[in-house]
């Protein structure tokens, strides 16, 4: 594995607004990295810096070890799938896919072979003569993808590529896109605000917030060990509680929440917060187990005030002391015994489920 893309201290300012704020990151060859964040977090600007449609206010961008910061978009070995697909309406599927090869000046027989292979790759055989308006959303998506990968770029950029598709098709395309990306070993950067899509497709996720990369890691790492309240809430759902560190030991960390609950977290890390520190803790809703009886540690009592049926599971909101609400996602099989509105239950969890966030 080697670094295919390197961003070194890249910033982009529009007037007084800093859209991308000193971002440094490395994408390995063949890796799919996702820039995840809400709208306005700078992920789209970062993508445009990579494609070359914006140039950074400071910092540099390297592709395959070569500085491309000042290289025009048409000279960059990077192709993009646009959110709108941006298929040329006056060209057929075939001509759309061949566009990049023609611009590069490939020989006609070579274009023929490559386009044919690309059409087969995205299963669009028989559609070659159609125009964009004669295709379904999913088919357009495939054309846009084929058009971007047929010139075999070093880097593929995907800008919210599935956002225009309906939920079922989107999940199918996630799997297919990922399969293709693996098969071709394409270094890919995906921009999305959809956390499920990010988790399903990425090798690593960069969670972006206010122009910065807030946390970078594999989906499992980021989901299970969010470092900030923003990450904990943006990637999945989280119960956030303010707490004070009472004692730390090899056995665990004693915490006292603002509501007065005494909780035990996992043993303190080396550079973890000292005794007396004010911290925020995050507990994932699915880690809370409902029980009739309190456990020795980590049990919070609450009254069920809200219940949402989600199919395989149920989402419950319990209200504890001082009106503090906790969200619980429980397997739906237990619905008969529990979960009636107004009932009181204990939310129990393991010390390992308590994640201390950075302030």
């Amino acid at each position: 594995m080697s670094a295919e893309i390197e961003l070194k201290g890249v910033s982009k300012r529009f007037g007084t607004v800093t859209a991308v704020d000193d971002v440094s990151l490395t994408v390995e060859s063949g890796e799919l990295l996702t820039l995840l964040g809400p709208s306005g977090c700078g992920k789209t600007t970062l993508l445009r810096l990579l494609s070359g449609f914006e140039s950074p206010s400071s910092g540099s961008i390297l592709v395959g070890g070569v500085d491309v910061t000042a290289v025009q978009p048409n000279k960059r070995d990077i192709n993009q799938v646009f959110q709108s697909y941006a298929l040329f309406p006056h060209l057929t599927v075939w001509d759309n896919i061949a566009f990049g090869l023609r611009m590069r000046g490939d020989a006609a027989p070579e274009i023929e072979t490559k386009v044919k292979a690309a059409v087969a790759l995205v299963s669009l055989e028989g559609m070659e003569g159609r125009y964009a308006h004669q295709l379904s959303g999913g088919q357009r998506q495939r054309v846009a993808l084929a058009r971007a990968i047929v010139p075999e770029p070093r880097v593929l950029l995907l800008d919210e590529p599935l956002s225009a598709l309906d939920a079922k098709l989107r999940r199918e395309m996630q799997v297919e896109l990922k399969r293709l990306q693996r098969k071709l070993g394409l270094t890919t950067i995906l921009v999305t605000h959809d956390q499920e899509e990010a988790l399903a497709m990425s090798d690593r996720i960069a969670v972006m917030h206010a122009g910065r990369v807030e946390q970078l890691g594999s989906g499992v790492e980021v989901y299970n060990g969010p470092r900030t309240a923003f990450v904990a809430q943006f990637l999945g759902e989280s119960n956030l509680l303010k707490a004070t560190v009472m004692a730390t030991s090899g056995a665990g960390t004693s915490l006292r929440t603002a509501e007065g609950w005494l909780l035990v977290g996992s043993p303190a890390a080396e550079n973890g917060p000292p005794e007396g520190a004010e911290v925020t803790i995050s507990i994932r809703p699915e880690r809370l187990k409902l029980s009739r009886e309190p456990r020795h540690t980590n049990s919070i009592m609450g009254k069920v005030i809200e219940r949402t049926f989600l199919g395989a599971s149920a989402r419950l909101v319990l209200e504890g002391d001082h009106g503090r609400r906790l969200t619980v996602v429980a397997p739906e099989e237990s619905k008969d015994q529990c979960c009636a509105l107004g009932e009181e239950w204990f939310c129990c969890f393991e010390p390992a489920d308590v994640v201390l966030l950075k302030h």
Binding site: Q72, P73, N74, A86, H90, F99, M103
Partner: protein
């Protein structure tokens, strides 16, 4: 539907019908229209004398259209791709000439092009010309006048189609390796085709029939078919012949319009 039909009948079908009827009539010695069927006027349309003027008119109109397209396309395209506020202001500048009568603006060109006019003064002070050149009453003056008059009619429809052009498509072409020239030729131009076609019709058709510019700036030295038609109605008092010329042109326009307005394959469903 019905109001539209009334409008069409009143302002299109009826006048054209009258023109058609006159074109098959005859005239008596003092220029009155005699309602007796005759092909005579149509015979005269193909008289070499008029055919010559017709060919010249087509040439002038074609050159006017070409120059308007070459000058107008980049300007209209540029304006259409500016940010909203600037775009509106620039567009207003294109429209400003319409606030003054077309005839007065053509008279103004006489002042600019005459022997000691603005054009010569500027060229002389820049030492491009040693002595004043008589621009007025030359084919050059007519071309300048025609291009000046029709440029906005080329720019407005092109502006309208360039404004609708999706910026993502231009970026996609760029992303796929097209340089600025290729982006323009393989994406921007085909996708603003309808604006170009409308501009060509809006310039070419009236340019053929234009008589005021050729009269004022050409000094009747280079009569175009518009001058001939005007003459037949106002001076020669040969209405049937004027009408026959008019009918032939209307048919020519209709055919060229039909050819230019064909919907491209990619817009058909």
């Amino acid at each position: 539907m019905a109001p539209m039909l009334v409008w069409l009948v009143l302002f299109a079908v009826l006048p054209l019908g009258i023109l058609g009827i006159y074109s098959f009539c005859q005239r008596d010695d003092i220029g009155r229209v005699v309602f007796a069927f005759s092909w005579e006027s149509y015979g005269r349309v193909f008289d070499p004398r008029y055919l010559h003027i017709l060919v010249r008119s087509l040439g002038y109109a074609s050159l006017t259209t070409l120059l308007c397209l070459v000058l107008g396309y980049p300007a209209a395209y540029y304006i259409a791709r500016r940010p909203e506020r600037l775009r509106q202001r620039l567009l207003l500048l294109v429209m400003v000439p319409f606030w003054t009568s077309f005839l007065i603006r053509t008279y103004a060109w006489i002042q600019i092009l005459k022997g000691h006019g603005l054009f010569n003064t500027v060229l002389q002070s820049l030492h491009i010309l040693a002595a004043p050149v008589d621009w007025l009453y030359t084919p050059t003056a007519v071309m300048i006048g025609l291009v000046y008059s029709f440029l906005p009619f080329m720019m407005l429809p092109i502006f309208a189609s360039a404004e609708k052009l999706d910026g993502d498509l231009l970026e996609a072409a760029r992303d796929l390796g097209a340089g600025p020239v290729r982006v323009f030729s393989s994406v921007a131009i085909p996708l603003t085709r309808s604006g170009i076609a409308a501009g060509i019709i809006l310039v070419f058709v009236p340019a053929i029939g234009m008589f005021a510019v050729t009269d004022l700036l050409g000094g009747a030295q280079v009569p175009l078919i518009g001058n001939v038609i005007q003459n037949q109605f106002l001076q020669a008092r040969n209405w049937p012949f004027g009408a026959a010329l008019g009918v032939v042109f209307t048919l020519l326009f209709a055919i060229s319009y039909g050819l230019l307005q064909r919907t491209p394959k990619w817009e058909r469903t």
